[in-house]
Amino acid sequence: MEKSPSLFYLLGLLCGKGYILEKSLSLNFPHKNIIVEGIAHCPMCGYLATKTFGKDDKTLKCKNSSCDNSSGGINSKIKKRYNQRDLFTKSIKENVIPFLKSKIKFNYSILSNNTVTILNIIELNPKILDFIKNFFNEKKSFDRFEIPDSLNNERKELKVEFVNGLLDSCSYPSAGGWLNRDGKNGHGRMRSYFQIVRNWKLPVQIDNFLRHNFNIPTAKFDWGHPNIRDPGLQDYINQNESSFARECQVGFFPEYFKIFKHRIAPKIELFNELLRHNLKVKFEQDDDWLKTKKTITTGKIKPSHPMENDYRIHKEVRGHFDAEWQINLVLGCKYLKKIQSKAKNKEVFRISGNLEIEKINEVKDNFKKIREKKYSEINLNPKKKKVSKIKNRSKIREQQTYKPLVFWLKNYIKEKYKEDSEAFDTSAQTLNNFFSSNFESFVQFEDQIKNLEDLDIRPDIVGISKVSNKLFFIESKVVSIGIKEVGQIWAYSIIADPFESFLISTKDTSQSLLRVISQTPNFLKYKEKKNIKIGKLINNKNVEFIYE
């Protein structure tokens, strides 16, 4: 099998946002907004033009303080506008597929909506599919893929194409993501971003891969960690506790990426806009995050955050962090490790960035004291929000059934199967975290969990036997169960194939559903010999089955 540029471009696409299925590949190209805008430059002096805060969106102001347009007046229509959905599909057909097909034989289909275009690759040569599976160490999706060390040993053009694939699948050139810097001929240094979803290892691996193979720096890491995303606790205070749990962004400057190329419009055009701007403005410093001072002074110590140990954070980086680089270090950045190896005490370096101090206890105590003091000085009272009382009341009622149903399910499994189990409500934590925290190995559930984890909505209660690993789902309702209500739990059950699946309400089942169940064979069936069981929750404690 030939190791071709096309194959390594495909590997990059997969690594950024792809899935490996049994006999096919699925490449996702997300495009969140239908329209994306380019950079605005002042028509008078050519400086960057930005939004005028407090005024309407139609006018922009020039960043050059000596320009007549510095207080506004530039028409925002000077920005180029790109229709992402149309351009993504067109580019996939005209650029991506022909390039892949130049060396790889396959068939394909395209699926697209307003936020994503999916290229489904089928009928791939089994040898190529095996190579791809092996490359990603048998992992099946972008949130688990890592860049293997062996890639460093491939020839340069293959490594370039791997990065091209990453750029097309998970990088976003953005006119709004500029760094506040003055250059020789203007202001604002434009950045593009890799956006890495649910994969904590990949961001550092991308950075290290670029440095090692191309001597290219990245500019900034924005981790989905509360100390980084919500350092002042404002979101936490305003009851948006989980706002930190977003993708990781790795910012980079386009001028260092000229060796690479996008094949997806409008990424091509946007990237070129950013590049032209930075080259014209001319920046002398390299703004490499690795070269910034690592010492964490008192002013840089962040207050403690109550969500620092949240389950959504990767196990290795739960806890307190005062700087992005500290997370990079823990997640394996080899360049930081090299710096750390020169420290008199490695732990002191990890906490404070100091290479000279030897005694750890004093540093630890001092940092702890400062972050706790800063936390104690924050007013934790939330700003008042208007809340719909009616909506809240109804939500609380259904949530009140979750706890009793968790207890009931554990008892049910114990009584029926004589097996100990765990059960939990999915509004409290994700399935993936639940399994990883409660079971040493959950390999047998990985596919099922991943399938469910990707859903915006999930069953209300999930249980699992600790003995036989049987899965149980409950969908809880506080309305009379009718035909319509069956649909949701039926769809979940089709996808995840639980051992038993329950639809339980505090109200009686509708007569029409009972009639349908009695007259329509297999109406509740989701697999051979498996039917959804309908029940009623009595006194918020016991379940009486209406149909099982």
Partner: protein, 163 residues
């Protein structure tokens, strides 16, 4: 797009679609009515209509002229992206009614949450097939009443709807 304009698009498209079916004519369009309770002589001609205690967004009654037989098409619309909840709902209707066609039409196509399942043929068929038939999901072009070709699921129906 407002609910009304999506519904108008659906109605116009439905009429054209039925016209394109050989040997079929449109008899009645029922909008957002509980099919077991509506006073429609046409619905009452179906066996077991009393079990149809649900409200699809559209039920189109069509007649096979050659066989002089009534058939039904069920359509649900979704102003958001299509997700598992809306697929599950219309599939429950389909399993009871066995319509000749069943469409789930959305303003925004399918949601990201189901993208993975929609390209996994095994899961897709389990989720969307009923009797010998399949649910069809699609969305319209923003600026016309044409179907967005790439939004059609399953792929096997793309040709049918485009023709």
């Amino acid at each position: 797009m407002s609910k009304e304009s999506l519904e108008n698009k659906i109605l116009n498209w439905s009429r054209k679609f039925i016209k394109s079916l050989k040997d079929y004519e449109l008899i009645e369009i029922i909008r957002s009515e509980n099919l077991s309770k509506i006073n429609s002589e046409n619905i009452k001609k179906f066996q077991n209509y009393g079990n149809w205690d649900f409200t699809p967004d559209f039920a189109l009654i069509i007649k096979n002229i050659k066989e002089d037989k009534l058939n039904i098409i069920l359509i649900n619309r979704d102003n958001k992206s299509v997700g598992l909840r809306s697929i599950g709902e219309i599939m429950c209707f389909n399993k009871i009614v066995n319509p000749i066609y069943s469409f789930l039409i959305s303003e925004k196509g399918h949601s990201d949450e189901i993208s993975y399942f929609m390209i996994n043929e095994n899961l897709r068929s389990k989720l969307m097939n009923y009797f010998d038939n399949t649910l069809i999901i699609f969305s319209f072009d923003d600026n016309s009443e044409k179907i967005k070709k790439e939004s059609i699921i399953p792929f096997s129906k793309r040709k049918t709807l485009n023709d």
